[in-house]
């Protein structure tokens, strides 16, 4: 299964590098969103909490605009059946999850780098904690959105359905992620972030396990 998953990941990566479908759209989305935020907040003094919230809003909507591509692209190109004939459902899920994980990690690093660059008031006091939250948040986001993308790929209104379905599923992740990021930005105390880190870890385990169990039913008609 691992070899098959790796082959699917490599296929998706090669396809993305060749078509640049998701990457270009995502980068443009991030640049435009940050530009709007920057222009609308000229001269405003924002609290670290508000800055952290805005960072997660950008990360959430950027993920919503690109992470469904892994399955939607297969459905739009008509290659879902080809993949069903080539690999087991669990290998497909794992391969797509790996690709989405890479995409969301690269995306979130890019967003944070650009955010730090354009928002003078945003400073990270505890970088270790901050990047751990980003890593856990990205893992959770990739895991949850991969199974949701598989579900919505077969729907006609997939564009609007993806964020609508994702929001309630991602709510615990967003709340814990925002809270832990805020601690890393303003206080810098590991101990106070511990409950949020535990929640993120538990969320990751539960969502990934449920996704693996459910994927077979989603993938076959």
């Amino acid at each position: 299964m691992l070899k098959q998953a790796w082959a699917i990941f490599r296929k998706d990566l090669a396809s993305e590098l060749r078509t640049r479908y998701a990457v270009n759209a995502l980068l443009m989305f991030v640049v435009v969103t940050l530009a709007v935020i920057m222009f609308s907040l000229v001269g405003e003094m924002l609290t670290p909490g508000a800055l952290t919230g805005m960072l997660w809003v950008v990360m959430f909507f950027a993920a919503m605009s690109g992470l469904s591509r892994s399955f939607v692209a297969e459905e739009e190109r008509g290659t879902t059946m080809t993949l069903q004939l080539l690999a087991t459902p669990s290998a497909v899920y794992l391969g797509k999850l790996l690709f989405n994980l890479l995409l969301v990690l690269v995306l979130n690093v890019f967003i944070v780098a650009l955010y730090v660059l354009v928002m003078d008031q945003f400073s990270i006091r505890q970088p270790d904690l901050f990047w751990l939250v980003m890593l856990l948040g990205s893992l959770c986001m990739a895991s949850a959105t991969t199974i949701i993308a598989a579900i919505i790929a077969k729907a006609n209104t997939r564009g609007t359905l993806f964020p609508v379905l994702s929001f309630p599923v991602l709510l615990p992740l967003l709340m814990a992620g925002i809270s832990a990021t805020k601690i890393a930005v303003e206080e810098g105390q590991w101990a106070s972030a511990w409950p949020d880190l535990q929640l993120l870890g538990s969320y990751l385990v539960v969502v990934t396990t449920v996704a693996f169990l459910l994927f077979d039913f989603v993938w076959r008609d």
Partner: protein, 206 residues
């Protein structure tokens, strides 16, 4: 490969497409599914390939006396159909290498050449298969179906879009498939039907 279907029913949004279809395919047999357009031939073939679940009824696949679970059936079947789409952003060799790596089979450059040559595809083309003609794409689909030498070959209108040379290649692959296991063809083509050992006629259920 032995295939047995019992009282297969398929409904889409409560609309029946197949109503109680039963048949049996023996090892070494070329079996034809015939019927008018819209009668459910392709739906039945998808159910046989475990790409679609029946609304009711059952289908079993047996290889060397052992039943095969639906999750692992893809390793034992080859499937080619007009509605099957390959990865058109990749060239023919990249597609073959992808299928080989997903199926866990080694595939060198010479193997690629032999496969492409076997169905009459050019060896020197490096452009994505989206630029191929419909006949060349059909040959690629046939390669996709047979390159792992499956014991059950499922072909939906296999001779569509092909010239006489391509059609001859299809019948050669069908005979090879018969020797390996069994072949099921969904078709309305008279020559395809003539090559079948047995056929079942499916009628539109609605």
């Amino acid at each position: 490969m032995h295939v047995r279907a019992d009282a297969l029913v398929k409904k889409f949004n409560r609309k029946p497409v197949l109503a109680g279809v039963s048949f049996e395919v023996q090892p070494g047999q070329v079996f034809g599914i015939v019927g008018r357009n819209g009668s459910g031939k392709s739906t039945l073939l998808r159910i046989v390939g475990a790409l679609l679940s029946p609304s009711s009824g059952s289908i079993t696949h047996t290889l060397d006396g052992r039943g095969i679970e639906a999750e692992h059936l893809h390793r034992h079947i080859g499937y080619a159909a007009p509605y099957l789409t390959l990865y058109e952003e990749f060239n023919a060799r990249e597609n073959l290498q992808l299928y080989a790596s997903l199926r866990g089979m080694p595939l060198g450059a010479r193997d690629c050449d032999a496969l492409l040559d076997g169905v009459g595809l050019p060896l020197d083309r490096r452009d994505p298969i989206r630029s191929y003609s419909s006949g060349m794409k059909q040959r690629m689909k046939l390669l996709f179906a047979v390159m792992h030498r499956p014991p059950l070959l499922l072909l939906d209108e296999p001779t569509s879009n092909l010239d006489s040379e391509g059609i001859a290649a299809v019948y050669r692959l069908v005979e090879e498939g018969r020797e390996r296991g069994a072949v099921i063809i969904a078709t309305n083509d008279a020559e395809d039907i003539r090559r079948c050992d047995a056929t079942i006629s499916v009628e539109a259920a609605c």
